[in-house]
C-alpha cells in the first residue's frame, strides 16, 4: 500500500502550549487507521491539520508525495480530504438534501431532482433519513448520518471521522461499519477517531495512539489488544476496573423507594412507562436511541411535561408531583445531568466557578441577594477539588476544558445543589478513558453515600459495570429489569430490540 498522506514532525502550539508535538503520522491508501488517545491527547488537532482546519506551527504535510498546505477545509476537500466533525457542521435551517449538495450545487438546481438524487444516495448508504427534512428537526444520530453522507458524497479519497459512532445506536453502528468497509474497498483511506476501543480493534487496519500530543504507539491492529491500547493511552491499566461483570456480593441492596413513576405518557415517545428508583443504589437504564429513556427522565426532572390527559403519575417520596418547570424539581432534590452538555449542560463562555455557582443559585441555596465572588470561588474550589477538574485555574472558561473536565463541571453544577436523586444521561459520552474512570468513581461514591442514582447509557459495558439493577427501555416503556449478575449483553440487547 502506498502512502497517501504523511505528516512529518508536525507540531501545533496554542498560545505557546503544545497540542501536538513532533508527530510523524502516515496514512496509507485504502486503509482504516484508528487514531486513539485520551481527550486532549491531540487527535482532533492532528486531524484538523490534515483537513486544513488548523495550520501546523511546524513540520510538513505530504499528500500523494507532494508537500502541501491547505489553508481552508474547502482546499482540502477539493484535494480529496474530507473531515466529519464530532459536532456537526450542518446548516440547521436547510434540508438534508440541501446540506448534502451545499458547496457543489449547480447554477440552477431543480429541487425535485436534488431530493430524488439525495434519496437515492442516502439509500445506497443504508441511512434512513428523509432528504426533505430540515436538519434542525433531526436527532443527533441522524445529523451524524447526514454529515457522514456529505463526506462520502464529495468523493473524498481521505475521510476523517471524529467520534463518528458516539451518537449512533448499535444497529446504526453496524450500518456505519459496513459503509466504512465499502469505502475502504473503493480505495478510500479512513482516519477513525473513537473512544470505543472495541470499534477501533474491530474496524481498523492500523492503530496510532497519542498521549499528551505525542505519538506513543503506532502499528498493525493485530499487534494491539484492549489492555495494550489503554496502557498506551493513559499509561496505566484501567480496563479491568472500568468494565467488568459485577460480583453479586458487591451489588448494593435497594434502600427506601424515593421515586415511583406509574404509567407516564408523553405523546408517542413515552408510553405508559412505570418504574421505581431506590436510595443507595445505581439504577442503570439502557435503551436504544428513540426508546424514550431520556424523555422519561426529562419528565421526571420537570424539563418536559407529561400528557395532560391520562399522563400517569410521578411520586417523589410517596407524594405525587407534577413539575411545570425544572426549578421545582431541582428544589425537590432531583438533578438531571444532561447527555448534551454543550447545549444544555453549561454556559461555555463562563468560567468554571460561575458555572458551578450557577447550580447553587438554581437550587435557591444562595442566601445573599448579591453574589459574593469570594464565596463563589470558595464553592468552585471545593468542587473542582472534589471532582478533580483539571484546569489552569477557576477562571478558565468551560469551553477551554477537555470533554472529561467539562463533564465534571456539569456534574459539579448538579451536585452543588445537594440532590437526593441524580440522573446521569450518557455521563461518559465523548469523555476519555481516564476521565471515565473518575466519573464512574463519582457515580459510585454518590450511591455509596445513599443517594438514588440513575445512569442512562447506550454503552452496555458501562451499564453492566455501574448498575445495581438494569432497566431496559423499549418503545417508550421499561420492558425488562435485570440484576447485573445475571445480565449479559445479549439478554439486554434482546429486550431492547425485540
Amino acid at each position: 500500500m502506498d502512502t497517501i498522506v504523511r505528516l512529518e514532525n508536525i507540531s501545533k502550539l496554542y498560545r505557546g502550549v503544545p497540542a501536538v508535538k513532533n508527530v510523524t503520522f502516515e496514512l496509507k491508501r485504502g486503509e482504516i487507521h484508528a487514531l486513539l488517545g485520551e481527550n486532549g491527547a491531540g487527535k482532533s488537532t492532528l486531524t484538523k491539520i490534515i483537513a486544513g482546519v488548523v495550520d501546523a506551527t511546524s513540520g510538513k504535510m505530504l499528500h500523494k508525495g507532494k508537500d502541501v498546505f491547505y489553508a481552508t477545509p474547502n482546499d482540502a476537500l477539493h484535494a480529496g480530504i474530507a473531515m466529519v466533525f464530532q459536532e456537526t457542521s450542518l446548516v440547521p435551517s436547510m434540508t438534508v438534501a440541501q446540506n448534502l449538495y451545499l458547496g457543489s450545487e449547480g447554477f440552477l438546481n431543480r429541487l425535485r431532482g436534488v431530493y430524488i438524487s439525495a434519496q437515492q444516495f442516502l439509500q445506497s448508504l443504508n441511512f434512513s433519513v428523509d432528504p426533505t427534512a430540515l436538519v434542525e428537526t433531526l436527532g443527533a444520530a441522524k445529523k451524524q448520518m447526514v454529515e457522514i453522507a456529505r463526506a462520502v458524497h464529495h468523493n473524498a479519497e481521505v475521510i476523517i471521522f471524529d467520534e463518528p459512532t458516539a451518537t449512533l445506536t448499535p444497529e446504526e453502528k453496524r450500518h456505519f461499519f459496513a459503509l466504512v468497509r465499502r469505502l475502504k474497498a473503493r480505495g478510500v483511506s479512513i482516519v477513525f477517531i473513537s473512544h470505543a476501543l472495541e470499534e477501533a480493534l474491530l474496524l481498523s487496519d492500523r492503530i496510532t495512539i497519542l498521549r499528551d500530543g505525542e505519538l506513543v504507539a503506532s502499528g498493525e491492529t493485530k499487534d494491539f489488544d484492549r489492555e495494550k491500547i489503554i496502557a498506551a493511552m493513559v499509561g496505566r491499566t484501567l480496563s479491568a476496573e472500568l468494565y467488568r461483570q459485577r460480583d453479586d456480593k458487591k451489588i448494593r441492596r435497594p434502600g427506601r423507594k424515593v421515586l415511583s413513576v406509574q404509567d407516564i405518557s408523553m405523546g408517542a415517545m413515552v408510553r405508559n412507562n412505570s418504574f421505581s428508583v431506590f436510595e443507595g443504589q445505581i439504577t442503570g437504564v439502557f435503551g436504544l436511541i428513540g426508546s424514550g429513556r431520556t424523555e422519561t427522565f426529562k419528565i421526571v426532572s420537570g424539563i418536559y411535561k407529561r400528557d395532560f390527559l391520562r399522563g400517569g403519575t410521578v411520586e417523589l417520596n410517596d407524594k405525587p408531583v407534577r413539575y411545570v418547570v425544572p426549578r421545582q424539581a431541582v428544589k425537590d432534590g432531583i438533578v438531571y445531568v444532561t447527555e448534551d452538555r454543550k447545549s444544555e449542560g453549561f454556559f461555555e463562555t463562563m468560567s468554571i466557578a460561575e458555572n458551578i455557582f450557577g447550580g447553587l443559585l438554581a437550587a435557591d441555596r444562595e442566601q445573599h441577594s448579591i453574589i459574593n465572588y469570594a464565596e463563589m470561588r470558595e464553592v468552585a474550589a471545593e468542587w473542582t477539588k472534589a471532582l478533580n477538574v483539571r484546569a489552569i485555574n477557576d477562571n478558565a472558561r468551560v469551553v477551554e476544558l477537555s470533554g472529561g473536565n467539562q463533564q465534571k463541571v456539569v456534574i459539579g453544577k448538579g451536585l452543588v445543589q445537594n440532590p437526593k436523586i441524580v440522573i446521569f444521561d450518557e455521563p461518559t459520552r465523548g469523555v476519555d478513558v481516564g476521565a471515565i474512570a473518575e466519573i464512574h468513581q463519582i457515580i459510585n461514591r454518590l450511591a455509596d453515600e445513599g443517594l438514588a442514582v440513575v445512569v442512562i447509557s447506550s454503552y452496555l459495558p458501562e451499564i453492566m459495570n455501574l448498575s445495581d439493577r438494569i432497566l431496559v427501555c423499549r418503545q417508550g416503556r421499561m420492558v425488562e429489569e435485570f440484576s447485573p449478575a445475571e445480565a449479559t449483553e445479549e439478554k439486554i440487547m434482546y429486550a431492547a430490540v425485540h
Binding site: D263, S274, F275, S276, R310, R322, V324, V479, E481, H498
Partner: protein, 348 residues
C-alpha cells in the same frame, strides 16, 4: 403537583396507573422453573396434613405424595371453594353452595356468610372466614369486580358456635390469616392487606399491590401472599367505563370479558391487548396479560421481601394458594393445572 390537579382530574379523568413490578416485585421465572409436584385440574386451594399436600379441585380433596401419587381423600356435593387444616389436623372445607364442613360435620353459619373465599384457624382454635360478597358465589369473583362490589366481610367462628363479624363492607376479602390477636385480610379489589383489630377500623398495612391479592399463609418470620391475577391497564380502564362494562356483562360470557383471569391463551375468543399478540413469533414476557403467576413473601410487618413469578409468556398463572414447608414453597396454580414446589436456591 399543583393544587389544581385534583380539580383538573375531575375533568380530564384520573390517570389509569399500574404499580411497576420492581423492587421486591422484580420479575423472574421462579414459578415456571419450579418443580412439578402434581398435575391437577384447576386446583382451588391447598394445605398440609402430616407432611402431605392436600389439594382441592372440583368436588374432591386429593392427597398428593412426593412420589407423584395422588388419592381422593373426600368428595363433596358442590365444588370446593376454600379449605384449611388446623395445627391439630382438623379439616375445614367451604363449598361453592355456601356450606362449611369441619371434619365431616356441617357448621352452622350466619345467613350473611354465603360466599366463603378463604378459611384459616386462629391460635385459640376459632375459625376465620373471609366472605367475598353478599349474594354471590366464590366462582363469581369477576362479576363482583366488574360490579365494583364492596359487600364482603370477615368472620370469626368460635368453638362454641358463635359467629362474630370482624369487618364488613370489604371489596372481596380473599385471604385471611391470624396474626397474634389481630386478623390480616387481603382485600382483592382494593389491592391491599388490612389489619383487623378488635374495636378498631381495619387499617391498610400494605397497599397498591400490583395484582389482586388472594390467600395468605403463615411462613417463617412472615407470610406468603398469593396474587391470583395481575392489574392491567385495559381492565382498569374498563372499570372506569360504566356503560361499556354493563353492556359487556350483559352480552358476553364471563370468561371472555375484559377482566382478570386465572389463565389465558386457551381460546381465540379471549380479548388480547397489544403486546399480548406475539411479536416475531414470540410472546413477550413483559406483554400486558389478563393472567399472571405471582407469590409474594411478606416480612413480619407484612411488607414485601421477594416474589416468585410466572410472566405473561409463562404457564403457571392464577396462583390460588401458596404455603411453605421448611425451605420449600408449594403453590397451587389454577391456570397451570399444577401443584409446584419452589426450592430454596433454585434457578429463578
Amino acid at each position: 403537583m399543583t393544587i389544581f390537579d385534583p380539580l383538573l382530574d375531575f375533568f380530564r379523568g384520573r390517570a389509569v396507573t399500574v404499580p411497576p413490578l420492581d423492587g421486591a416485585f422484580r420479575p423472574n421465572r421462579a414459578l415456571d422453573n419450579a418443580r412439578l409436584v402434581a398435575e391437577i385440574n384447576a386446583p382451588v386451594d391447598m394445605a398440609f396434613r402430616n407432611g402431605a399436600i392436600v389439594a382441592a379441585a372440583g368436588n374432591a380433596l386429593f392427597e398428593l405424595l412426593e412420589n407423584g401419587a395422588q388419592g381422593v381423600v373426600a368428595t363433596f356435593s358442590a365444588p370446593i371453594a376454600a379449605m384449611a387444616i388446623s395445627s391439630a389436623g382438623e379439616l375445614a372445607v367451604a363449598c361453592e353452595n355456601g356450606e362449611l364442613v369441619l371434619d365431616g360435620a356441617a357448621v352452622k353459619l350466619p345467613p350473611e356468610v354465603t360466599c366463603m373465599t378463604a378459611l384459616s384457624f386462629a391460635a385459640d382454635g376459632s375459625m376465620l372466614v373471609a366472605n367475598g360478597a353478599a349474594g354471590l358465589r366464590p366462582s363469581q369473583w369477576r362479576t363482583d369486580l366488574m360490579k365494583k362490589g364492596a359487600s364482603g366481610s370477615v368472620w370469626r367462628l368460635s368453638r362454641k358456635g358463635d359467629a362474630t363479624c370482624l369487618a364488613a363492607g370489604l371489596a372481596w376479602p380473599s385471604g385471611i390469616l391470624a396474626a397474634g390477636s389481630d386478623v390480616m385480610v387481603s382485600e382483592a379489589w382494593n389491592r391491599r392487606i388490612l389489619r383487623v383489630s378488635d374495636g378498631l377500623k381495619p387499617a391498610a398495612v400494605f397497599s397498591n399491590i400490583p395484582g389482586y391479592p388472594g390467600r395468605l399463609a403463615q411462613a417463617e418470620s412472615g407470610a406468603l401472599l398469593s396474587i391470583f391475577a395481575p392489574v392491567n391497564r385495559l381492565i382498569e380502564f374498563v372499570l372506569q367505563e360504566d356503560d361499556y362494562r354493563a353492556a359487556m356483562m350483559e352480552e358476553i360470557p364471563a370468561e371472555y370479558w375484559i377482566a382478570p383471569s386465572l389463565a389465558s391463551g386457551r381460546s381465540f375468543l379471549e380479548p388480547l391487548q397489544c403486546g399480548g399478540i406475539k411479536t416475531m413469533g414470540i410472546h413477550k414476557p413483559w406483554a400486558p396479560s389478563r393472567s399472571y403467576g405471582l407469590i409474594v413473601r411478606l416480612d413480619g410487618d407484612f411488607q414485601p421481601v421477594e416474589s416468585f413469578h410466572s410472566r405473561a409468556d409463562g404457564h403457571r398463572h392464577g396462583i390460588v394458594a401458596a404455603r411453605a414447608l421448611g425451605d420449600t414453597i408449594y403453590a397451587a396454580s389454577a391456570g397451570g393445572d399444577a401443584i409446584v414446589a419452589i426450592e430454596s436456591g433454585q434457578d429463578s
